[in-house]
Amino acid sequence: MTGLEADLEALVGADSILPAADGAEGATPPYTVRPKSAEALAEVLALADSRRLAVLVRGGGSKSGWGRAPSRCDLVIETTALNRLLEHEPGDLTCVAEAGLTLGGLQRLVGSAPGHHQQLMLDPPQGGGATLGGLVATAASGPLRARYGTPRDLLLGARFALADGTLARTGGKVVKNVAGYDLDKLLTGSQGTLAVIVEVALRLHPVAPATRWVVAEGLDPRTAQAALVALRRAPVVLSMAELLWPEGKMLVRLDGAVSACGEQAEIVRALLPGSRVAGESEAEELARMIEMRPWDGEGPVLGVSVPLTRIGELVTVAEAGGPVAQLSLRGTVGAGEVRLREGADLAQLTARVTALGGFLAWHRSPGRDAPPLRPEDPVAARLALAVKRALDPHLTLAPGRGPE
């Protein structure tokens, strides 16, 4: 037993130390530790920090390929043993949970409160097994973003451990709060480079009594763009408006009161050329289709975003025969994902998206390395680096992935 292993064992107990991970993060770390409390996690971090070890945080592992692979990794800290729902106040539509609780686990727990039907309105890819901390750290979201936003909009507060083991809180558990700096935002999307999130307070939403789907097929880029303009201005509340390319499909979901849903579905149908209101029996299949795309299939998946007025052009890039195998785009937001075709020229795609005024972000990237988390603007990059150095001066957390 090495000195490190003995020290870790003394901190967390032998049963919290796991066999070496599979090395999916790019290096094979000697130890994976799964602490049973936030305090134990903080102590492990402090130990690693004092010995200048590089630490990678891992939740459910569903998005471990996201972000740049760290340049070193000596220790993996898994959060999955921190999996309790700490508070759920259905009347407030809020909850507090440990960061290692999975999204699926949370939905089951908050969804079963008697007399209420609530959910965290977040549907990220491979979401069920993803942990809440991981979802916040990757800022992952899905089609429901059209109505409910991203983790940025749903996170009310957090508890986290800095690399030196300092446990601290930001935000609170109420839906409105401007006390102190909004460090929730800083943690959101920081990909485990600034702190280890150990607890989150989240905003929930009620599940509407009725759902309707409208399906449009055979769209071309021009009609798709025009239809989206009309939809954004229409007197309807869309939960999703997913544009699927190169199939030329748009799937729209509406949720609300029974009477209102039907009426709004008709409005949407009238605005979408070649569309129809789907029967109830199709709902499950449509939901599945949306969930799998564009992840189901080989090849790297990137996040993509463009201005609303350039969606038609983005869609043209995703026409059959181009670099993109599949595009799923939140049509009213202008953000989504692309899966690249085998051997596609990434530089060319990047150039085209950049020319549209948009961004690409690496999600699943087998065999390729994502760029570090760094803003394009040089002064913003310097500020990001200053923040990283202030919170993690020894570059303990996922070194090489952040702005350093």
């Binding site: 809180r169 102190g180 700096y181 599940v207 009477s259 975003s305 913003a380």
Partner: protein, 489 residues
Amino acid sequence: MDRIPARLDQALLERFRQAVGCGWVLTDPDQLRTYECDGLTGWRAVPLAVVLPSRTEEVVQVVRICHENGIPFVARGSGTGLSGGALPVEDGIVIGLSRMREVLRLDPDNERVVVQPGVPNLEVSRVVAPFGYLYAPDPSSQRVCSIGGNVAENSGGAHCLKYGFTTNHVVAVTLVTPEGEVAHLGSAVPDSPGYDLLGVVVGSEGTLGIVTEVTLRVVPIPPRVQTLLAAFPSTDAAGEAVAQIIAAGVLPAAIEMMDRATIEAVEFAMHAGYPDCGAALLVELDGPASECQALFGQVVEICRSCGSSEVRVAEDEAQRALLWKGRRGAFSAMGRVSPDYYVQDGVVPRSQLARVLSGIRELEVRHGLKVANVFHAGDGNLHPLILYDRRSPEGPERAKRLAEDILSLCLEAGGSLTGEHGVGRDKVCQMPKLFSPRDQMVMHLVRRAFDPAGTANPGKVLPTPRLCGEHPGIYRPHPLERSGALQRL
């Protein structure tokens, strides 16, 4: 901080003048006095000078001069803040953004507007209205308060219940850092790469730099708006109705509550025609007509079942305006019935509204002062107005203690120190009630990352021993501080 000059010498003033033009550097004591406080008039300080830049480049130059000479600076929008955020520091300058009031770019097709920070909040909705859009965050001060101030405070408003706060509507800013560099944070398009520094700057109360350009998201004007006023026998009953509306999953655009004291003041001052009752709820639903209709019935039913004796529904825009008139004018109405008042801004979980309101009534009796409540009930954001007379012996002191006790009540219920007015100077010494020394230290670290020299709005947001006195036992130095890598403010 020992580099700070006690006075600005002529050479420095000359440099400020060169940066912004002669007429835009104020040093005349009478002129300076108009900048000595914001909306929280109990705190006053006269700055050494007021500098009024008109462009980002001018702000850069002014901030660089401050940085090179260790001069603290305080950004100021319209000065309507209610926490002393724009309170000057005596050994520093005020940088007023009121000349920067241009709408720079209108891009309704992408649902974006780019403005300078001095543009008044309401102006944004005015310029996008012809395209069918509005800017959702609507502080009651929206005619006057500036977008820069809104960004700094992460301001809210009645309709934020449904639409979210300023932070949900700002997608990019140009920030002049405290060292005088220009940073572009966020972007008009979603998902720009890197840390969400924009999210930290929003709500940072001018302590991380000066915002000189803001890109805002605008939303389509809702096709239908329905407004009702429900009269209740008591705030308990009205609070219960709010809890039930939220719990039922109805998301109105706004739910505002007024108690008897507020209703009486409003009636006295502006004759809005409100019913004579213990509490009133103003509920507004917006969205597609079909959705509004369905939810409206539900709201009315809940109000009735919670004891509402009367529900008035606005039949047209004029009636709607009348219902809102009393709410919007409530603060100024209070000025007509009480010589002085202090606006508290606390938050409680919505399920706790009725309990906390009755706690406030007990405190009223204990402190012997009247409290009027008018607030954003839907998101649990209380605004108790503590009525007092500053000329009466102990008046201000009693009001202050009552305000603090109300805040403690909010925190005990699991709430927050401030929902929209910010910490500023007013609540800086109360931060330890909500945040541990470690929590504060992390905020200090972030602040220092943006502002190593500590010149941007010093003395606001985060407590220091100098401001609040030493609290032996609470403070524990951060390891970085112990190692000398970081110095304590």
